[in-house]
Symmetry: C2
Subunit: 221 residues, 2 copies
DNA sequence: CTCCGATTGGACTATCCAGTCCAGTCCTAC
DNA sequence: GTAGGACTGGACTGGATAGTCCAATCGGAG
């Protein structure tokens, strides 16, 4: 009806376009992390990137679409920030190194920021179903990495055969989220450290009986 | 300079006024819980209470003040909702009853809501210092109740003398918050149950050696 | 070179929202 | 009963914000 199908180029198909889109996304991710979805306006993004309003709508289908892209970006950066410790979990010692990495990351900005993903739950879970699902899959990916580490630990005999890496990984993830939430509120890393230590103690309870060292080997603060 | 000091009546000093103020606060608390601070407008509150704009400003010094009052109200209702189980914690069995209460509360609304306090952290911690401090003191009160229960447990010999009730209570609180956050995001109570079970397992690791039962006595889901 | 679509700039609109204002009504102390 | 202050109603304002529109420019394929 409106002409033959031409090979349609997508918005951002050129190198320059992709660069611009990426710059917008990076700036938006930073703003959303610092201020949340509602307090980040498209004009803030525009100002931070020196890009015009129409470009925002050229690359994204409105604010909701931009936010979804931000969630996907956060999902990547959060995992990347924990490397290489996250993927190197293979023992309680490795777990401790990963815990220290998380605590160190939070200390870097004086606990002024929450978890890029966790902070968005209250904003999105209520009325942005697509956003909520994006968060769920981001959390699932994170949990998957942890689960893998725990499986390695179990195979190495550091966890009992009966241990359920999937559930334990979920427990670790909740400890991170709860710890970061209270760290953000109190502006202190202590809740994060305590949460992770307590969860890891819960893990130690799943160590084979003979190996089970006393709790607190990691040093409570 | 402007006349002798009269016994100044405060806004809401009459019975009727106090009733109205309370009705506004209750409605605002519900709306803020469901939608968050930014997505709750004063007009929403006005519509939900049948009250006029000027009454809102008569009883509160603007939106920020109303939100602070909502935080204080939430601080009360959250603790009240956990009664009587919260203040009855005196053993691992009591802890399990309290955990079931929390899980049951979350199930009541199908995990559609987050923690009334936790959900506000991302909204307030960034740029409302008074709101942030109100949250911190609400969390402190909650932690205090938990700490008291753990002290009772320690005195009853269910926790080792070396156990630190303050830190362990903080760990429990982070488990709740992380569990509720992921429960809200995934619309499933499982993260909450797993988080609490894992934290309680961490607590069991602090039980005196002889009494220490194996982990998972509470039944992992 | 020349064309065409991708890309860009920025003005414009419609809506929403916190906060203001003032006139009218109700309650209570005297 | 009555005067004064507490309480109430609702219109109005200024500013911010998401989204629209169209003309101008750029850049690569033929």
């Amino acid at each position: 009806m409106d002409g033959p199908e031409r090979p349609r180029r997508l918005a951002g198909s050129t190198t320059r376009g992709r660069t611009t889109r990426d710059r917008v996304l990076t700036a938006a991710a930073g703003l959303v992390h610092a201020r949340g979805v509602e307090r980040t306006t498209l004009d803030d993004v525009r100002a931070a990137t020196g890009v015009s309003k129409s470009q925002l709508y050229h690359y994204f289908d409105g604010k909701a679409d931009l936010v979804h892209a931000v969630v996907a970006r956060h999902a990547e950066t959060v995992l990347a920030a924990q490397q290489p410790e996250l993927d190197a979990i293979d023992s309680f010692a490795g777990l401790a190194r990963w815990r220290d990495k998380l605590v160190g990351l939070q200390e870097q900005h004086g606990c002024a920021l929450g978890c890029p993903l966790g902070s968005l739950v209250a904003d999105l879970a209520g009325d942005d179903e697509l956003g909520r699902l994006a968060l769920v899959s981001a959390f699932a990916a994170w949990q998957g990495r942890l689960r893998h580490g725990l499986e390695v630990m179990r195979d190495h005999g550091e966890l009992a055969e009966s241990a359920d890496p999937e559930a334990l990984a979920l427990g670790l993830l909740t400890a991170i989220q709860g710890g970061l939430l209270l760290a953000h509120a109190t502006r202190s890393v202590r809740p994060l450290r305590v949460a992770l230590d307590m969860a890891i103690d819960g893990l130690r309870a799943r160590a084979p009986a003979l190996t089970a060292a006393g709790p607190g080997a990691a040093g409570r603060c």
